[in-house]
């Protein structure tokens, strides 16, 4: 919640890092140690550093934060509240299929079992993900590259 309402973008990023560590703690609680480690490394490490770097690069501060009209803020709050009500209402009516054999395996969520599934059943999505990451990296470099000429400013 503080991510949304803090005035400064840097404070917003810091609260988001706090949220990510909390989520990583939940992953550990849910027997997903490998995912918790990957989450901390990728999100709290890479993505948040990227956000902070961009904020520092663009030199944003409180004065540059634009103000929305109260009407729009009110409408946004109403929309989000309505969505929450819809989610709660729809989830209240659902009944979960009760899993009988819910005894957790010993190696559930470890690197070994996860890697076996990842490279056996999901090999093609894994390769496609690597291609996607490559394409996004090239795209980011192309976009971030300063334009040589034709700047008519």
């Amino acid at each position: 919640m503080l991510v949304v309402f803090s005035k400064s973008a840097v404070h917003s990023v810091l609260y988001l890092i706090l949220t990510f560590f909390t989520i990583a703690g939940h992953y550990v609680l849910l027997n997903a140690e490998f995912l918790a480690a990957v989450h901390v490394i990728v999100y709290a490490g890479a993505i948040m550093v990227l956000f902070l770097y961009v904020i520092m690069l663009l030199n944003l501060n409180q004065e540059s934060e634009p103000h929305k009209s109260n009407m729009l803020k009110f409408a946004a709050a109403i929309c989000a509240g309505a969505l929450l009500v819809i989610l709660i209402g729809s989830l209240k009516g659902t009944e979960l299929y009760n899993n009988e054999s819910s005894a957790v395996l010993a190696d559930f969520g470890t690197v070994k079992s996860l890697g076996r599934i990842l490279f056996n059943e999901y090999l093609l999505p894994f390769e496609v993900t690597s291609v996607l990451l490559m394409a996004s990296m090239i795209g980011a470099v192309m976009l971030g590259k300063p334009e040589k000429d034709q700047d008519t400013k």
Binding site: L30, A32, L35, V54, E65, A80, L84, S102, V104
Partner: protein, 105 residues
């Protein structure tokens, strides 16, 4: 209806719904494009929490693999999105999304 540590799955569903709603609220509420990106990350994380909770509940590690893919896609999205943001900032000297209304109508 218990996960391994005794926390009911319902609580994770509520947590995920609340996180997703906060993300939606942030996207609608703020004008700063960077904060909007962060709220999108928040929504992706809500879905991730739900996937991990269900994968633990049904004892199926495929959900965690999907979370892995979602993380990769989120990383790619953030990289490209921030590059686009830097480009727009370079052209308009602001991160206000209100100035990017040329595609409207």
């Amino acid at each position: 209806m218990k996960t391994a540590q005794g926390i009911p799955l319902d609580y994770y569903i509520w947590l995920s719904a609340a996180l997703f709603t906060i993300g939606i609220l942030g996207v609608l509420y703020r004008k700063n494009a960077i904060v909007i990106f962060m709220c999108i990350e928040l929504m992706l994380n809500a879905v991730n929490v739900l996937l991990v909770a269900f994968s633990n509940y049904y004892n199926d590690a495929s959900g965690q693999v999907f979370v892995f893919f979602i993380m990769a896609v989120a990383a790619a999205e953030v990289a490209v999105g921030l590059a686009i943001l830097i480009m727009t900032y370079r052209n308009t000297k602001t991160t206000d999304i209100e100035v990017l209304n040329k595609l409207k109508w």
